[in-house]
Symmetry: C2
């Protein structure tokens, strides 16, 4: 057969601050022939996660940094359209590290390893509620935060893919939940659609005053997706023996001069702690989490939202949306329709 | 009898940055008559602890902030020279919150409550090795840090009263211990007198490079007394599942614009944590700690140093010494000789 043409976004420079189209080069290359053990995947949906921004920096994190000249990484859902691998058959829907391109040839082993999806699963769900974002909320809240009924829980990035699920899990566990998000529309969504007790609009409210009002006895648990000045505001209101669960620091990802939490000494005064975690450490327990989340989604106790943009050529802008707060729910990009 | 004259230092303004003589007023007042239940204590040794600096700020911490016009607080050892309280007899040596003055009249209840010392105890020891500083090292290392044999432990302010004891406890527990202190003399003392594995001179060494050299597998436990840029350097080298024990942040106490640890997101990447604590939470277990420390001191396994300045009139400068690093060991000030 004539070689397929593969459009791909290659990282050609590291962003100093906000990631942009300038950091990538769009190119077309032929898809290579398959060797034994390999299979060919066509990209259907791409997922954008904040952690990818950290992978673009020179320093290795919990995975190897993306190299200059490497196809930009992401987790995707795709379809196997050719295979010399017994475990992956033509027509299989798979999730894995396809990256920012139409096609990838792989053995299945990857920094984001490939797995076959159960038949009949809506193709966006493995990237949203059952994806890294939903699983992060699950283990972050139930394992790291170690929630107790009646606690006051604050979540930043609360309207995001991880934050919104984290908030709802805390509600399920009998906590008072306050979400922080940007803009009145997102905040209305937090209380009316996701059922939170209160929402704070960091773009328009005095966050510090609102935290005092909504958390008069202090913040027992803070699930932090953003870092920056909001982390300081919460530390100023942290409860005795409170705990900050560090999930991410999206406000710092696109700057080369992050400020650091000036109020961290409140941890001393309040005998409080700050704990980081990485979802990969819980990989063996993903089936348990997916089972619990499925149950909650079916019962209507956990809702989720997806924001699906369109077209591989728009990948850099879709990625930017999660840093500028334009996304409403999990940021995805549709690359192609499935064949089957 | 003619009323005794009491010289005292009253806090008359709050320091914005470095505490200085300007923040206090030296005055002489007559000692009042005793009411029933009260006793009169003569100050012998004053103790200077970094935490007092935080008490001078307007915001309450774990105790009520010092009020403008209040005698500056400190923990001291003194002697009961008159008493209308059955529990405190003339001649008793006591420890408690006498403050920056020659005499105090008290019922014994105080933010720093009074207790009678066992007979024969050297009068400086309850303020140094058995004082807040030694006890902080004990519980910080054994309870909060949760040390394990073979771990790599870094201590900042390592030549100080708390740090030097913390280092030695970590050595006793079979850890590799690296101390950070200012100047070659203190560093030599750390390895030669206190028996640490390595010392880093933050005034002359490249701290980051030295940490990499001495902790090639990362820092498992960091006992932090200083905050500031050194905390960032250690976070950059924190080990997987490492822990920062926040004891203090002396580098931040005398500034109104502390920077905060810019590298705190390493806690996420390394699944690490940062935990604050306050020694008062362990008050019920002080006898256990004093017993263990006594044992170690007698066996020569824990050594300590005291830096005794002289004269109540020099109190502001003696206090400054702990923030400028001039002290060698626990900073005390001798106010008077005991009567008996």
């Amino acid at each position: 057969m004539t070689a397929l043409i593969n459009r791909q976004w290659v990282m050609t420079s590291r962003p100093e601050n906000m990631v942009s189209r300038e950091n990538f080069t769009f190119q077309e290359v032929p898809v290579p022939e398959l060797n034994d053990g390999e299979f060919l995947v066509k990209s259907i949906y791409m997922s954008f996660d904040p952690t990818l921004r950290a992978w673009m920096n020179e320093r290795d994190t919990y995975v190897k940094a993306i190299a200059i000249g490497e196809v930009m990484r992401c987790n995707s859902v795709g379809e196997v359209i050719a295979s010399k691998n017994d475990k992956f058959k033509i027509g299989d829907k798979v999730m894995g590290g396809i990256g920012w391109q139409d096609y990838c040839v792989t053995t299945g082993a990857n920094i984001l390893p490939f797995q076959v999806l159960p038949k009949g699963v809506p193709l966006t769900m493995p990237l949203s509620i059952f994806g890294i974002t939903g699983l992060t909320a699950y283990f972050g809240m139930l394992e790291v935060a170690d929630l107790k009924e009646g606690q006051t829980v604050v979540v930043s990035g609360a309207a995001g893919a991880t934050g919104s699920v984290a908030c709802q899990i805390a509600k399920l566990k009998g906590c008072k939940v306050i979400g922080i998000a940007g803009g009145p529309e997102k905040c209305k969504n937090l209380t009316e659609f996701f059922g939170l007790d209160h929402a704070i609009d960091y773009k328009n409210d005095n966050v510090k005053a609102k935290l005092r009002e909504y958390c008069p006895n202090g913040v027992d648990r803070y699930f932090d997706n953003v870092g920056g000045p909001i982390l300081d505001n919460v530390l100023d209101q942290i409860a005795m023996h409170g705990k900050v669960v560090l999930c991410g620091a999206i406000s710092d990802y696109n700057t080369d001069n992050p400020s650091g939490p000036k109020s961290y000494t409140r941890l001393i005064v309040m005998r409080a702690s700050m704990q980081g975690f990485i979802i990969l450490d819980y990989a063996k327990r993903f089936p348990e989490a997916i089972s619990a989340l499925t149950h909650w989604v079916q019962e209507g106790k956990v809702k989720y939202q997806e924001d699906v943009q369109d077209g591989l050529e728009n990948a850099p802008e879709a990625f930017q949306r999660i840093f500028t707060g334009k996304n409403h729910g999990k940021q995805l990009l549709k690359v192609a329709d499935p064949t089957t």
